[in-house]
Symmetry: C2
Subunit: 343 residues, 2 copies
């Protein structure tokens, strides 16, 4: 039992079929002319010895691999994983597979992973970046095609595509819905404003508020940075409870913070829409089975993953495609957690 080392190589097949390894290579890679009889003989030997080509050796020679990297803040976030799943379905058809990595939005961890992947010479990269390793990413980008997920890299040097959502628009729409229903004190639970998606969503809120005559300045009390985390959402509710004048609505700007808010509200017995109204960017799993359903901007993650998968395939084939953007439009799904505010 246990581990052996002597795998079957092309050498063995060649010997068995009484040809040179070049010929074996040619039947493996189909494309060359090789006599039908010898091909059959080689095929038979491969079968007989249950030969599997060594991708490592092949990769070294041809300078490319058959795996793509999928690097996101948290792979267990249902939003990311369902995109990943769709990517997988696309690339699997081309005999590629996928290495997934969770950075936890940590600069060092992202860098470690990116270096590892670059060492491994991945064929392509789908990246939801922390935004803190742009120099390395640009360097990496010289060798490896990159598709950005949700977060932009604003550098003229970057060449690749972006797959994202209509941050500003949907954020505006969600805020507007609350405003139309009479809400004015709307707590926005945003993410890092140093990330393009965080900032755009925040700006959508600010713009809508401004359009309704409300100025969101530095010391405006109805904003809380959750870092797009579950804990952050939870803390937002605790922050809210301490406010002298409570907000009448809360707008969580990503799925994790929405869950955090929902849990905290459940715990503190804050009911929606009686005590507070809720809207949220991103949907959450099994929303329609839940007691409290915020109005959400829902995205077709399957489509996003499909786009990302196709884009990376195209870019692997031809790395000099001009930069593109695939922006997914939201579907606003009305929940039961939004109420009209009587002034």
């Amino acid at each position: 039992m246990a581990i052996r080392n002597e795998r079957v190589t092309m050498q063995d097949v060649a010997r068995d079929a009484n040809v040179s390894i070049a010929t074996v290579s040619r039947v493996i890679n189909k494309n060359y002319n090789v006599n039908e009889k010898t091909r059959d003989r080689v095929l038979k030997s491969m079968e007989k010895l249950s030969f599997l080509p060594n991708s490592i050796a092949r990769s070294l020679k041809i300078n490319s691999t058959s795996t793509i990297g999928f690097v996101v803040s948290d792979i267990s976030n249902t939003y990311h994983i369902s995109i990943a799943r769709a990517v997988e379905d696309v690339i699997e058809k081309h005999n590629l597979n996928m290495t997934v990595c969770s950075t936890g939005n940590d600069k060092e961890r992202e860098l470690t992973y990116l270096k590892l992947l670059m060492s491994q010479n991945i064929a392509g990269l789908i990246l939801n970046t922390t935004g803190k390793n742009n120099d390395f990413i640009l360097e990496m980008n010289k060798y490896i095609p990159i598709i950005l997920l949700n977060r932009r890299i604003d550098s003229p040097g970057f060449v690749g595509d972006l797959v994202g959502t209509d941050n500003l628009d949907s954020s505006y729409k969600l805020t507007e819905q609350l405003l139309k229903m009479g809400h004015r004190r709307i707590l926005v639970v945003h993410g890092s404003l140093e990330l393009s998606n965080g900032l755009e969503r925040y700006n959508g809120y600010v713009q809508a508020m401004k359009d309704y005559g409300i100025d969101v300045g530095e010391d405006y009390p109805y904003q809380f940075n959750s870092g797009f985390t579950l804990e952050g959402g939870y803390q937002a509710v605790e922050y809210m409870r301490r406010l002298p004048q409570k907000p009448t609505a809360v707008f969580t700007q990503n799925n994790m913070s929405t869950i955090g808010v929902l849990r905290a509200c459940k715990e503190y017995n804050i009911n929606a829409p009686e005590d507070i109204s809720m809207v949220a960017y991103d949907t959450i799993d099994n929303l329609n089975l839940m007691t409290t359903r915020p109005t959400v901007a829902s995205y077709n993650t399957h489509s996003m993953g499909y786009n990302a998968g196709m884009a990376i395939l195209e870019r692997i084939k031809d790395p000099r495609i001009p930069n593109r953007e695939f922006i997914e439009q939201s579907e606003i799904i009305t929940g039961n957690a939004v109420g009209i505010l009587m002034k």
Copy 2:
């Protein structure tokens, strides 16, 4: 812009530092004696040229890689992904990363993936098998350490560990809870009985029923094979509605079919516990935010992932550890969807 090929190699570093590539290799791999001054010089050259070692070449030489394979029926299943996440945390500390694959319980797709991974010479494999490729898995097992996830391979030839749950026990307990509350017509929504976990869970149910004097034979009407899928769960409800004598309770034996049942019940306006009681194997995400909460057998997926990660690391280091089993015990969480049946 675009893609270049001329990466920095050890050759370049050696030239810059005015040493041989052997020396460069030695400073990279620390372990050898190399003069401090020359080490510094080499280190400086590496820095200056921003050298990254080529893992492919290294792997070819040392005959092992730094990625482990994670092959499951569906990576987007929250149960699997949260195990994967915990595995990632363990192996990342050892500078390993993880290739994930979804087989969809399809024999061919599993085989394709396994061959691809074997070609890529992965360091280890964590596998939730379809159960239909045992021959190849045993062959693969000669070269690559394997940790089985939830599904056994009953072959004396297999060497590796199992990380799983206490299928029979928890299934028995859940069934018993219903029986104690007076339920007798309990629809079991099981999975494939050809898979060890499917069979064990089913047997737990059968045993409990038998202990309460109910014989579950071939033509016993209160059983439905969902294949552990969402659609299967949904169909189970449709099947249930067609039964002349309705069951008073339903026991879904995995998380996907539970969600399917919940959705179908919502759609057909079947309420719990008034119309039907519900217990379920596996928990589901955000259960405590949901309207209808079955009593569930919940598992600590973090612990399972940790065990799987540690086990694979240990087996990579020493492949001839005797077979082990890491069986996770459930926590039964009582929901609001179970009612006492008045006879």
